[in-house]
Every structure is written in C-alpha cells, then in structure tokens.
Symmetry: none
DNA sequence: TGTCACGGTGACGAATCCGTCACATTTCAT
DNA sequence: ATGAAATGTGACGGATTCGTCACCGTGACA
C-alpha cells in the first residue's frame, strides 16, 4: 500500500490506471500535467510518481527536471510514460535519471508490475525466490514445494494459492482477495472452486494440511506454527 | 574463485578433488561425513557443497535433508556424489532438491565442469520477480509473459523453458543443460521433446519467435536484440 | 551435387488439470 | 434443539497439456 501520484492529461487513461492501482491496494492520486504538479507533490508526498511526458510540449520533461533539481523531491522515484515511437535520444538520455519508463500503449497490469518493482527496489525489500515457513519451503523459481526437505508436486494453481497464503502467513485471506490474487479479478470462477482447491492442497500436504486453517465466514489462513491443542 | 566445501570420507578422493579444484582457481575445504558437517557449513559459509552420500549408512541423506531444512543453509547449492548403481528411488526422491549429482567413478574434470555449471546458474539468479528483455517482460510471480505490454499465456513448461533461456539471454544453451534445467535430471524425456516445446513457444510468440535462435548441433539461444538482416 | 544428420512440424493418445455440481457435514444464531 | 448458511468432499466431463513419433525441410560437408 503506497501513495502514488499520477500526472496524466488524458482523463480516461488516468482513471484506468488509478482504478487498477487502487484495486491492487495502492492509493492513486491523479492530476493533470501542468504548473500545479510541484505543489501537489510537495503537499501529497507520494512514494512514487507516474509521469506522462507529453513530448510535443516537453512539459513533462520540464517537470521531471524540476523534480530532480529540488532537494525535497529528488529522491522520489519516477516512472515515465511516453507515446510509442518517441523513445528518442531525448528520452534515452533522460531515462538515466528516471527509475523506469513505459511506452504507450501499455497494459495497466504491466504498469503495476513496474511500480511494484521500483517500490521494492527503493524500499530495499529484496524479493527472495525461496520462502521458508516452518517445515515448508517454497521454491518459486522452480515452482516446487518442500515439506521437511522432501519435494512435493503441486499444480500451477495450487502453487499459486499456497504461495499467496504463505507470503502473508498467519494473516487471514478473505475469499474475494484470494480469488483475485490467484485467478485475477476478471475471472468468473465460482467461489466454491476455491474450496475445492483448498481441499486438494490439504490432501497433498497430508497431515501438514492442518496448517491451512479455515476462518469461517471470511476465508483461509496459513499458520506457520500451529496452535497447540488444548490439554483435556 | 569460489569457496567449496567437500564432504567426503575417502581421503584420497577428497584430496584428488581438492587438488583439482584449487588448480582451477577454487578454494576447496574437505571434511569427513559426520556430525560436524552442519557446524562446518555455518562457519565456512561455502558457496557450494559437494556431498558424498554414503548410502549404506544414509548419513549423507540425513545431512542433506538437514541442510535443506535449515533456513541458513537451504539455498546453498549441493552436488551429490554417489556410488554407481546406487541411483535408487531414495536418490531419485532426494535428487529433486539437489542441484546436480554425479556417480562414482567420475573424472575430476567432470566434477569441475558440473561445479562451474551450477555456480554459473546460481550466480545468475536474479532476485527480482520480473525480468525485462527488450520487448519481453517475464513475470515469474504470476507466471505471465508480456510481449510489448500485452499478456501472453504460457504453460508451465513453456514458461520455465523461456525463463531459462531468458535468464541468460544471448548465451547458448545446449540441449543437455536445457533438459536438465527444465525437466530435472532423472527425467527420461526424449531430446525431441525439447524441439516440440521450442516450436510451441515460437508459435505463441508469433513473429517475435525469431528471438529464439537455433544453434545447430548445440542447442538454442534467446536473443534479446535481433541482429539486423544484412542489406542486399 | 548428393548424402545424411539435425531440427521443424503436425498429429495423436494418455494423463493431468480444473471448474462445477450435488450431497454431506459442520458451525452458528436463534 | 433446530434450521440456515458456510464449508468439506467426491465425482464428472471438458479442456488443456505433454511426450512421442513419423515424416518433411534444410543445412553442412565431402
């Protein structure tokens, strides 16, 4: 969850991006490309700026330069949007100062991924390809799961579901979130499908399936450390 | 130059390996197969472990499992040595977690080559879940490929194959390496299966399939930037 | 130019995967 | 205790995936 400022003149594009980002859990603020950008940045203190650089007017480049020149804003990461075919030397030179850039048309999903990448880089949160949770080890790179050191085959969906649960272990994942994270938001899969896959996962995990806990009325949870059963 | 820990009971073999490795510019440390392995690993922090798994006693397997179970050592690549004819189910199950294995007798040269291969592979591991290569963007986390910003569905194997090629783009991947990296060592898939999947990949990539280049007699290569066709 | 090995391609059958449904079981509020 | 809602479970069929094979095209080399 990060606050992101979108500087974009085309209202529909801005809205599309904004919608997508908020759906992914970010806070998106949109403003047009103009003189009011700097004040907005100072007021909002966004963690990242998406800047559409309208090349004809070069306004975007001016803004970008000013952002970099001002001590208060110089460290805010910027992702630059530019129309296709305008990846000129001007951009190429400028790009060195930007954290990333994207040419239109692009998918909102891709922008989101770039944003995630930049934020992760900036926050210095290294993304590890293996995640360890108690007896479990998830090897994302090879799509393998190890339980107590021995490998276990999962299907694509099972792996993704378990990964989602384990990334935030001991947290409650509600059904809607899980469906969105695993299947994507526009998927029309039935909510019961989730139950089926949970069941299949538990089956494959054997006794360790206990780690997947049902939160009735809400969703599911991966408990790395199981609560000890109460003594009788 | 990498620090390599050799766990081997037979002193002459250990010495042979050690000698050869140091001659090739590595730092080799030898210890016997026993309880002191884990402490040694933690103390030395080797970049790779060569583990002789004395099957009769199963000690090696215990050690290997412990290595994989411990967060501090789970990511250290391990090459397993085993006597010929002991490639049993036990090994087969275990092998999935190892990075490579070699049956005795073997030539020091071969071991060195395997070590180099593993180190090369491991060191190239980007801890970023998205990798960008020209017009392509691989999203490992979501197993998606973006071509010029639009998403493209790949199957598990296709994704893994392409990932392997793209991680070391512009390098030649020979058939044996690809088969091992994508399918695992013990897989008995025919070499032609690789061709079929290459074909399927190219198909899905459409015109951009050109980026997958055949190196006749050797293997395949992913070229991020295509060489411009010579003018007539 | 002819030969042959290597890689490209289309097809096919088996296996797996996956979404859905119906029914069973559990949980919770009343 | 009872009924409704949520979840567990087994089964089914369609879709996808995958490995293999036979045949074809092509490049390398003599």
């Amino acid at each position: 969850m990060s606050k992101i400022l979108i500087v974009e003149d085309e209202a529909d594009i801005a809205e599309l991006i904004s919608l997508h980002l908020s759906r992914e859990g970010h806070e998106a603020i949109c403003i047009g490309n103009g003189l009011q950008v700097m004040p907005a940045v100072l007021a909002q203190q966004p963690e990242l700026i998406v800047l559409d650089i309208m090349l004809p007017g070069l306004d975007g480049m001016q803004i970008f330069k000013r952002l970099r020149a001002d001590t208060r804003t110089a460290t805010i990461p910027v992702i630059i949007l530019t129309a296709k075919g305008q990846v000129t030397d001007k951009i190429a030179g400028l790009e060195l100062g930007a954290d990333d850039y994207l040419t239109k048309p692009f998918s909102p999903r891709e922008l989101y991924l770039r944003i995630s990448a930049v934020l992760r880089r900036v926050k210095k949160v290294t993304h590890v390809s293996e995640i360890q949770r108690g007896r479990f080890m998830l090897d994302r790179k090879n799509m393998k799961l190890f339980l107590d050191g021995s490998p276990l085959d999962l299907t694509t969906i099972e792996f993704k579901l378990l990964t989602t649960l384990m990334e935030n272990d001991n947290a409650v994942h509600n059904r809607a979130d899980l469906l969105r994270d695993v299947w994507g938001y526009n998927s029309d899969v039935a909510t019961r499908t989730l139950d089926t896959h949970i069941k299949r996962l538990r089956e494959k995990l054997g006794a360790a399936g206990d780690h997947i806990v049902t939160i009735r009325g809400t969703g599911f949870q991966f408990q790395t450390e199981l609560a000890a059963p109460l003594p009788a």
